[in-house]
Symmetry: C2
């Protein structure tokens, strides 16, 4: 009988639940335990037979896990959690604060190496699958230009920023790529595209009863559109809706995007090529969870081979992600 890969999940938010449902789809894996900062009795997992423990249990005693998926946030959780738990377990995180990746890699690498464990950081789709495509495409077409577009999708950070405005009861922000910019990127003309040209931001806002006046709405719209770093640099639309409309039409967490590289080859750059990788996702957390889970398989195998230390998706040969044997892959996927 197949020895299943034992997975633990730290945190139990949207991403964790996405990973949980992804594990259920993989025949060679089993979710054994969930670790939470909340009262374990308050958590009802979607999978039968899963133990729910406090986060402390991870360091107090040795849990029987092949890989621990760290499903916390990049701002506060992962900078502490990943090095801490990499000193005990093989781990996978989705750390996505681009500017701090080099520093995060170093602290995690030190912890994982001294424990003989493998730690994959910054997994998911961006960073993650999009990064892979930037790497492959720029290695193959060194003379060219890269474009990354996000959306149409919900930005949690931007939605939160709107919710902090006085008079806002609920908000949802969609990042939407500009069709014209996508076409220009794909043209191979290697255009310089500004932030404003690449994406628009669509905001759907529910106001409190007290702010349900034309004047108040005008103020809120103005505050959104002029918010530096979040909206001021973009063409932003604000649409006021009711809570019922919000719940009915904006409950999902879709996302996606495209990585495009265009490049030229041959004499006088005579020939143009376009490589495009795109995602259209109904559920961002379920898809991201699915990526983490496929890479958990890779991490379990790499550690079994004796590898240790911090890694990124760049360091992992694709074959490690698949449940198929090398012979099956060559016969059916190559």
């Amino acid at each position: 009988m197949l020895k299943k890969i034992k997975i633990g999940i730290a945190g139990y938010g949207n991403l964790a639940r996405g990973a949980e449902s992804a594990i259920a789809q993989q025949k060679d894996m089993v979710l054994t335990s969930v670790f939470t900062r909340r009262d374990p009795d308050s958590i009802r997992t979607g999978t039968e037979g899963v133990t729910v423990l406090t986060m402390d249990a991870l360091t107090k005693e040795k849990q029987m896990l092949d890989v621990l998926l760290l499903c916390g946030g990049s701002a506060f959780d992962l900078p502490e959690q990943t090095p801490l738990y990499a000193a005990h377990y093989n781990v996978v995180d989705s750390f996505d604060t681009h500017a701090r990746i080099p520093e995060h890699f170093q602290t995690v690498d030190t912890a994982a190496k001294s424990a003989g464990k493998c730690a994959l950081i910054s997994c998911g789709w961006d960073p993650g699958l999009f990064s892979l495509n930037r790497l492959y495409a720029s290695s193959i077409l060194p003379d060219g230009a890269d474009y990354t577009f996000w959306g149409k999708g919900v930005s949690q950070g931007h939605s939160d920023a709107i919710r902090r405005i006085r008079g806002v009861k609920d908000a949802r922000q969609y990042t939407v790529p500009q069709e014209r910019a996508l076409d220009l990127a794909r043209s191979g003309a290697e255009p310089m595209l500004t932030t404003r040209e690449k994406h628009v931001r669509e905001c759907f806002v529910v106001v409190t009863k007290e702010s349900d006046t034309a004047e108040e709405k005008q103020r809120i719209e103005q505050e959104i559109k002029t918010m530096p770093n979040y909206f001021a640099e973009y063409d932003t639309t604000v649409t006021f809706i009711t809570q019922e409309e919000m719940d009915r039409d904006h409950a999902g967490m879709p996302h996606g995007g495209s990585v495009i590289r265009t490049g030229a080859t041959g004499r006088d750059r005579a020939h143009r090529h376009v490589i495009e990788y795109s995602l259209k996702l109904d559920s961002n957390p379920e898809f991201t969870g699915s990526v983490l889970v496929a890479y958990a398989r890779a991490i379990a195998r790499l550690n079994e081979e004796g590898k240790s230390g911090a890694m990124t998706v760049f360091d992992i040969a694709p074959a490690y992600l698949s449940p198929l044997s090398p012979e099956e892959m060559r016969a059916h996927l190559l």
Copy 2:
């Protein structure tokens, strides 16, 4: 100073010239020699300072090469050449006879292992980049369906098949994906698509003077459309043109295509996801050559690390393809 990777090319057809122009774009590589079955004096390379030698020179004396790119055909050249030269050099080939890949892998693996060399087989875009995307996508979304579409692009094999018909002077065949099938594949409905539904075949034909009659053209069109394995299973169009039109409008070698995987996640498969990888190539041989060259970098590095044996793109971590350092990759591409 950077020690450049020394590349040799065996064969000097379209793919070889594509690889030659790709090497010129890579700062860490140099093309040192071309090996040919023709008279070396008859070859004029596009790069200065390249030695042209007969194929025999590869086995008669040890050539100073880090990697040899095998640019022959899959039908007759590579089944012999790859195992032969893998016993002396690190090699990369573009073997694309899918049914014979397992057998080819074995013979090449034996030769390369005993010589302590690395041999990458079936590199290019399909097999190659498309295979990678089939592997990544099916590992991440195990519950789903795969679709590969080719074109719009020139099929050399199909063009040749038309040229063998009596009365045909020249021919060019384009494989064109059906828009309707592409849309269905992308819909996430996981349709079963027949060969006829997925692609059409557009043929442009120049007839000889003797066959330039309505009757003869009707016979040729009929012979094309009923040719088993090549055209009978497809909706095929035949357009008769003049040699001038052929030379003016059909001299390029464009190609491309899409690998699409759709899959479902979550409770009751509630959420659908679409992963699409697509290529639009002005020059098939120049792009394929560019892929071979990026992988030549990987093969040189892997052999330097002590690896040997046959490999496919599945076995190679993406980082090996890039000229950037791990730190640069994490800072700029992740």
